[in-house]
């Protein structure tokens, strides 16, 4: 768990932590409730959730379906305001930023992006410059340079001239990530980015995110239900279950067998790998009966 004392001090903005990294995102006792109308009882609530993300850190928001992951993502992205508590990016509440400023600071990558009309991948990446332009937003030399750099960061320079529709799932995901990087954000938010990827592309994406966090000093927050990937790549895990934040901490602290079995409603084996990271294996019920 993150210590409550430090998160209180962090409200003012950048705070030097032992690791030497500045706090980018500070989520403090943030909660939310959905209701059909203002009068009726809420149909879903997200209980008070607190965690922080520093630069160079990869935070995973982990939980099964309907655990409140998407709600928390929207709170962080600032598209909804918390019912209580605060969600701050470098000391400013994300929901109070205007759309333009918010897009300059937070980039959100969704699981799938569908262009109705075919667009070239390079031009798609240039859309990331939208929050910096005015009126017609004809691309400047600088914009093109930034877009090229973003494509290089995801290893997709060769895809610039292809249309989005021609790309494979993994290639498409890289282009969407490049567009987010072209926004030059302070915080990179990803919503189930591995959902439509095969295992090779999943690992490649997470490795790339790790690299980006390290080299370009991004704070990265990934919403996912992929237990194995989180165990391998995340610095901190925010574990959600039925709208309640159960644990916040490094994978080794959060990955406890009984806890994960209860949250994911599946028999699991958790063991500690050689690098100090936990490993999760699915245990079939049949083999359990046999032993």
């Amino acid at each position: 768990m993150n210590t409550p004392e430090t998160s209180m001090e962090a409200a003012g903005g950048r705070e030097e932590l032992p690791k030497g990294a500045a706090v980018r995102l500070n989520v403090e006792q943030a909660s939310y409730a959905y209701a059909a109308s203002a009068q009726s009882a809420p149909t879903f609530t997200l209980g008070a959730t607190s965690f922080q993300a520093r630069e160079r850190e990869l935070i995973a928001i982990l939980g099964p379906n309907a655990s409140g992951k998407s709600t928390l993502l929207q709170l962080i992205a600032g598209t909804i305001a918390p019912l209580s508590g605060r969600v701050e990016l470098e000391g400013q509440e994300t929901s109070r930023l205007d759309a333009r400023t918010r897009a300059q600071r937070i980039a959100v990558v969704h699981q799938e992006s569908s262009a109705v009309y075919p667009a070239l991948a390079g031009d798609f990446v240039l859309q990331g410059r939208h929050p910096y332009g005015r009126a017609l937003r004809l691309a400047s030399k600088e914009d093109i340079e930034i877009a090229r750099h973003a494509l290089a960061q995801v290893g997709a320079e060769h895809l610039a001239g292809r249309t989005i529709r021609e790309l494979s799932g993994g290639e498409k995901q890289r282009i969407i990530l490049a567009r987010a990087l072209a926004q030059q954000p302070r915080l990179l938010l990803l919503d189930e980015p591995t959902l439509h990827l095969d295992i090779g592309a999943q690992v490649e994406l997470l490795e790339r995110l790790r690299e980006l966090a390290e080299e370009a000093k991004y704070a990265v927050v990934v919403v996912t239900h992929e237990l194995a990937l989180v165990a391998e790549f995340a610095d901190h895990v925010v574990l959600l279950h039925h709208g309640t934040c159960l644990r916040v901490g490094p994978p080794s602290a959060v990955y406890q067998r009984e806890l994960l079995e209860q949250v994911f409603e599946a028999p699991l084996d958790v063991e500690l790998g050689p690098a100090g990271r936990p490993r999760v294996n699915l245990r079939a019920r049949r083999s359990e009966d046999a032993t």
Partner: protein, 339 residues
């Protein structure tokens, strides 16, 4: 990477303007009374130099009092319908969206007809009725399209289609029961017709309204590109989605109402032109909107020229021309694009 540049924007629009001017000259020349191009150029020159009193009187009447106003009206109507079609397509992320599909045209038509039936002695009330009819339809369709406080694209489109068919039924009912007197004129107008000149008092309002509507939509062109990839993504890329939608929805509806009030329900233009432009020049709205405006103007000028000449001296409604020519061309362009 092939981002839109100012150079490409200006070249494309310049080329389309040249085509439009060529079509205008041709439309001035052709008609029940043929006129030679040389005479036309000489007289247009005189006109431009402010020496219009030197013109032969039959020229003045045919070319400048009859054909030219009609061509200018066609240019404005074509531009308005195409831009509103392109806007609705982006707004609803639906290639089938069109002022006609959404029922806005039917609402405007019904408003006009009601004005004509209730107060036939006041000609000015017809376009006013179209305004009110379109305005009420927008409000109704907008209301139908809202779900949980959000404008829902699918519900909006469905609401529009239902509204359109409902209003068409009322128009049919009114026409068959009440209007025995001038049924042919009304059918003409319903199918889209440019032969009725715009009353002098409305010309400026009409022109300024159309240009303002197109201009307002153009300010959101870059936002519309993002809206096309998805509303949620547009929000995360810094688009004030609610504002953009409102601006585009109101402006596009205004364009439709103005166009219908002066020329009736000319179909296919709002659907056909933006798609043709997309296949020719790409789908970037910063280019698509001005190119659609010019393309729509070209299509209407040519269609009206054909409507005047194909079975001369009888005239066809221009809406019939756009429908007959529109469908096959559209299918051709669509199939070519898919290859």
């Amino acid at each position: 990477m092939r981002p839109l540049t100012m150079k490409r924007l200006l070249w494309t629009c310049g080329a389309l303007t040249a085509v439009l001017l060529g079509c205008v000259v041709l439309a001035l020349k052709l008609g029940a009374v043929p006129i030679s191009v040389t005479d036309l150029v000489v007289n247009l020159g005189r006109m431009a130099m402010g020496r219009s009193n030197e013109l032969p009187s039959e020229y003045r009447l045919i070319v400048f009092d009859l054909r030219l106003p009609r061509i200018l009206l066609g240019i404005l109507v074509g531009a308005a319908l195409s831009v509103s079609g392109a806007s609705f397509q982006a707004l609803l992320r639906n290639p089938l969206a069109d002022p006609f599909v959404l029922g806005v045209s039917s609402g405007a038509a019904l408003g006009s007809i009601l004005a004509l039936i209730l107060a036939p002695q006041f000609a000015l009330l017809t376009p006013l009725g179209a305004f009110l009819g379109a305005g009420a339809t927008i409000a109704a369709v907008y209301y139908l399209g809202r779900r949980e406080g959000q404008l829902d694209s699918a519900t909006l489109l469905l609401g529009g289609i239902i509204t359109a068919s409902f209003l068409s039924a009322i128009i049919m009912f009114l026409m068959t029961t009440l209007a025995g007197r001038d049924l042919r004129g009304m059918v003409f107008w319903l199918m889209g017709d440019l032969s009725t000149p715009v009353p002098a008092g409305l010309r400026w309002i009409f022109t300024v309204g159309l240009l303002a509507g197109i201009g307002a939509i153009y300010t959101t062109a870059a936002d519309l590109n993002l809206l096309l990839t998805g509303e949620r993504e547009a929000i995360h890329l810094g688009v004030d989605v609610t504002r953009v939608k409102l601006v585009v929805y109101v402006s596009a509806s205004l364009l439709t109402a103005l166009a219908v009030s002066v020329s009736g329900a000319i179909g296919y233009v709002g659907l056909l032109v933006p798609h043709a432009v997309r296949l020719l020049f790409g789908s970037d709205y910063r280019l698509l909107i001005p190119a659609s405006a010019l393309g729509g103007a070209i299509v209407i000028v040519v269609a009206d020229m054909l409507a005047r000449t194909v079975v001369a001296p009888t005239e066809l409604p221009v809406g019939a021309m756009t429908a007959i020519a529109g469908a096959p061309v559209f299918i051709y362009l669509l199939r070519r694009g898919m290859r």
